[in-house]
């Protein structure tokens, strides 16, 4: 069962090959204590801890006592565009999707990753920097509302209703087409995402950090009777990481931009 689930959720892909030697990116802005404090303030104190078992609330207290400790560890990682292998391990909790007629197929399950709290702090820092740059470069389409600060599904529904009513007023015929991307997060391809980010003008240190974050991950599936051995994962953005929703939005943004002019999809 462990192998069936792993093959379904993480189909074998070509392994990501990191550079042999890392050099500091001179254009990477230095990390500040405020960025770490902001990232920690966004971490839920009751969020389930990752494999190291240390919860977010404890790291918040550590940062209050010694604000330089996390800064000294994270600063080289940000300037080198590196995501350490030690933080890429995760426990994958297998949850059944409710309302399925049969649970004999791996498609009836979803996997929730429990990631190191330390990794989540770093992910939030990278995510906030990436979001800032992506918005300034116009890499996110106006219709993308999910997982972005200040926007929600409510805004998407309001926009859709507004657009429909606007077109219905002059007695135009309006149709809505809803699309669902199957297993979206699980199929984010590392090299394609890196190309999208490169073409969008994202700074190289962020592209390097994202590529190293997604490549060569390991996951230990947790369910009754699981062997408990970590497996290599080279595909997908881990659900449970704060940066994954943003990476998925950037990954699918070309679909929004690719819609021909004159055809509006909300």
């Amino acid at each position: 069962m462990n192998k069936v689930l792993l093959d379904h959720f993480f189909p074998p892909k070509e392994a990501f090959s990191p550079p042999p030697r890392l050099r500091p990116y001179k254009k990477a802005p230095p990390l500040t204590g405020e960025e770490i404090s902001t990232a920690l303030s966004q971490c839920s104190p009751i969020s389930a801890p990752g494999p190291d078992g240390v919860p977010n609330s404890t790291w918040k207290q550590v940062n209050k006592i010694n604000p330089f400790l996390l800064l000294q560890i994270f600063s080289p990682l940000v300037s080198l565009g590196y995501h350490p292998a030690a933080l890429k391990g995760s426990n994958g909790i297998v949850l059944d999707k409710p309302g399925k007629p049969s649970y004999e197929s791996p498609a009836s399950f979803r996997i929730m990753f429990l990631i190191h709290a330390f990794s989540k702090i770093l992910d939030r820092i990278i995510a906030s920097r990436l979001l800032l740059v992506a918005r300034s470069k116009g890499l996110l389409h106006l219709n993308q509302c999910g997982s972005l600060p200040g926007l929600s599904t409510y805004d998407a529904v309001l926009t859709l209703c507004n657009d429909e009513k606007t077109m219905q007023r002059p007695r135009l015929k309006v149709s809505s087409l809803f699309l669902d991307i199957k297993a979206g997060f699980d199929n984010v391809d590392n090299s394609t995402l890196a190309r999208i980010l490169r073409e969008g003008g994202i700074p190289p240190y962020l592209i390097s950090g994202v590529s190293l974050f997604l490549g060569e991950r390991s996951c230990t599936l947790v369910f009754q009777g699981a062997p408990g051995t970590p497996a290599r994962v080279n595909v997908g953005a881990p659900q449970g990481s704060p940066i994954s929703p943003l990476l998925f939005l950037l990954y699918v943004a070309p679909l929004h931009f690719g819609i021909p002019q004159g055809l509006m999809i909300s």
């Binding site: 078992g53 404890t58 010694n66 560890i73 080289p76 590196y82």
Partner: protein, 314 residues
Amino acid sequence: MAAYGHISFLSSYSVLPSFKGVDDVLSLDISSQEPLFATNFHSFRIITAYLTNTRDHWVCLVSPETLFAALEVPLLVVGDINIHNALSDPIRSLSPGEIVSSTPYFEKAAQAGLALLNPHGEYTRFPLTGKARPSVLDLSFANPHLLPMVQGLEVSHPSTGFDHVPIRINLAPPTLIPSPRHPRWADTDWEPLAPILKEFKVPPAPSCPSLADLDSWLAGSLDRPPALLKEHTRVSRPSHHSKPWWSPHLTTLRREFHTAARMARKHGTPTLRDVANISKAGYFKAIKTAKTKHWSSFLLGATPQSLWTAKRFA
């Protein structure tokens, strides 16, 4: 009705019928000179019940009181008594007649402290004609004395050609595995830890490192803070003494209660709500009974020296 025992089993254990004058019921007392299942019990009882064919209808004439008695020895009740209930078959659409006929049996079983062993919704009868639907008909119940010994109930064996599938109930001495220890992060001792964290210096990172250099630098920098935190955090010590009144029976009742409550929340039918209420009442009553029983046994064993301990707990 007949019972078969292997010759080697019968040479080690004595098997005696314990019921007389009740139709459709076979009750056997199995005894041994040696304690059974690594417990203090020297005997246990198996009751199996079946149906009577009256006017082309199979009905159970055995009363719930006959089947489900509160015994002080391990008790296993098995059989097909043609009852359907949401506790055994949660996805079946039950008719009012099925509810009326099954409820007294499940209520009496709960009152006597017997728990259903069948995995929820696993069919035990597959009609050969194809007109009727599969169902969970062959039910098994265990009382609190037997429940710790029940390792599982399997219905996945090959068919014998009959419309009921073979069922195997595995009994073995209970294995008590204590829960793993885990840090109690709310109780971290920050007073001695704070000066150590304030003095903690991260060694400077290599300037143009290879991946191996960077990972070894990180290993030193990343591993030490969590290790320090764990050193100054108390570890929970789960033991069998933390809730001595808890039993595997209560675990089963809790699982049944949560399953029934979840079904009631999901579908919201009056029948499922009633089942959830019965499960809830049975679960909390069992907790209360277990606590009372433990307290009584503690008081019975109390000495004049432990009077103040008893007063402190009271």
